[in-house]
Symmetry: C2
Subunit: 337 residues, 2 copies
Amino acid sequence: MSTATYQRRLATLRRMVERRLAVAVTPGSPRDLTEACRYVLSAGGKRIRSTLLLLSCEAVGGTARQAVDAGAAIEILHNFTLVHDDIMDNAVARRGRPTVHIRWNVNNALLTGDVLLGIAYSSLLRTRDSDIPRLCALFTQGLIEVCEGQALDLEFERRENVSARDYFTMIEKKTGRLIALAAEMGGLIGGGRPKDIGALRSFGHYLGRAFQLQDDLLDVIADQATFGKSIGGDIVERKKTYLLLTALEQATKEDRLYLETFMRKYPPGTDRTDPKARARTITDVTAIYHKYGVIDETRSLVDRNTRKALAALTALQHSGATEMLARLSEELVQRAS
Amino acid sequence: MSTATYQRRLATLRRMVERRLAVAVTPGSPRDLTEACRYVLSAGGKRIRSTLLLLSCEAVGGTARQAVDAGAAIEILHNFTLVHDDIMDNAVARRGRPTVHIRWNVNNALLTGDVLLGIAYSSLLRTRDSDIPRLCALFTQGLIEVCEGQALDLEFERRENVSARDYFTMIEKKTGRLIALAAEMGGLIGGGRPKDIGALRSFGHYLGRAFQLQDDLLDVIADQATFGKSIGGDIVERKKTYLLLTALEQATKEDRLYLETFMRKYPPGTDRTDPKARARTITDVTAIYHKYGVIDETRSLVDRNTRKALAALTALQHSGATEMLARLSEELVQRAS
């Protein structure tokens, strides 16, 4: 498959979902709520989860059209989490625009998230010729785990003793779950055999893990211009990433003491506002990552999980869709690094 | 049916739902989230919505057992709205206990609401031998309208020109919708004919309206000891109730001016804290309600809607369950007045 064909096909799938998202919010009352819902759903983005869902449906012999309502549903579910997470994290901007609670207010953002969840189920329920009870059960389990993941993330901010293993539990729920769910739902809607649906679930599971580890890694090694976010943001924010937690576990007493003292300076002080202090913090922590080989270790974990994801795919009959899924996976974990 | 039989039967239905609610939250992580969910669901209350749902199922020939998971689901949905509404309203107590955002924090309350919604769908999906897609669609429509109702309620707080008609739109979504939904879902699960399900929907619609009007009325006329809340709270809070909005529409220029000036004193001033100022505000506004016959008018609207609800019930074959529904309706709209 040529790169042009791959890109064209991706664009077509995204357009199908965008069209659904554009009409998902029915004109209702009051205006603030409707407008905020439309604002959120029109923000664009890569639509990774819906693309995975549509391709997974095709990969077991279904059509993208069959899966498009469920694809829109999973994007809406994802956006519900973003709106509520932004309230909890006091985030002021997302995708270059003010967050909902900044553009309107916290109450409207809270309700926007709630109603988006209703709109997500509505969209899911428009899926035809599928096992709706099972689809709803999967979707609901995904919703619950995403909330648990976010709750763990908040808890980790306050807790001192977080292990790399705890981190995996959290991130698998918060980020990995929806990726795995997308693949599994696509397989179910496409009428895949249990074995094929299992392979897709496994594919999504490893891909989700690779995806998040890569995200942690990019904060340290990315090319700033391509990455879009400023480098070292996770470090300055004392975010308990896989890199930091692994460094803590492997560091000698002296370095561990340094890291622990560094982490206790929360909320971040001058290194958030003063460029020089910021650069020094980032350089120091990154040096420790390099010293203990944490960056290479994470990179190899990304590779290993990506390989496992691709291996899971080989259980499916080879097709244009499985090829697309493989290419998309490689693209996702090689972003800008 | 004797009062003892009626009370015993009600208690049995409530116990069935309580048992489901007690196991609805599976032990998950993190602890704060699980504990907050259990805290909310163990708060008791009259469980009006689930009782209506179970009785409606019986009224079309089904069993309460068939409907109990859906009954728990609608109580959980109701509690999700309470947790989020309490955040938005800055409420510090509910049912004599601190609200979730006070007992824990706003972030945990936000996530508790979100995850309760997932738990509600999980419970609903445990319903056997029913049209799950239709049940989910009804439930989802209910969720969306409840959010819209709350958004309208918040909007009305800021808006000056709210009509009694606007009020009905809002309250029908915010409060009436779940009552009507309970009756309709019960009818659907019990395998009722379309005509019977329609009668139950209609019954729920009028009952929901009577129920809310009565709530507005009780704020002014209730016996404080029985009502539990302090009298005149809606007045002091400048809540745009049916009473206030109707008085505004019917008052002469002078009284309307008084009410408009009164309403502009928001947030409430000394009359929230100083008992004398509070008593004066309540006496003055109540006097205007009496002057324009607003209290009698509201009382007769409660009666009219209750009669319509009971009339809708007569379309169903008479049974112990329809008798229970009729008695429960009368009890609900005669609370402590």
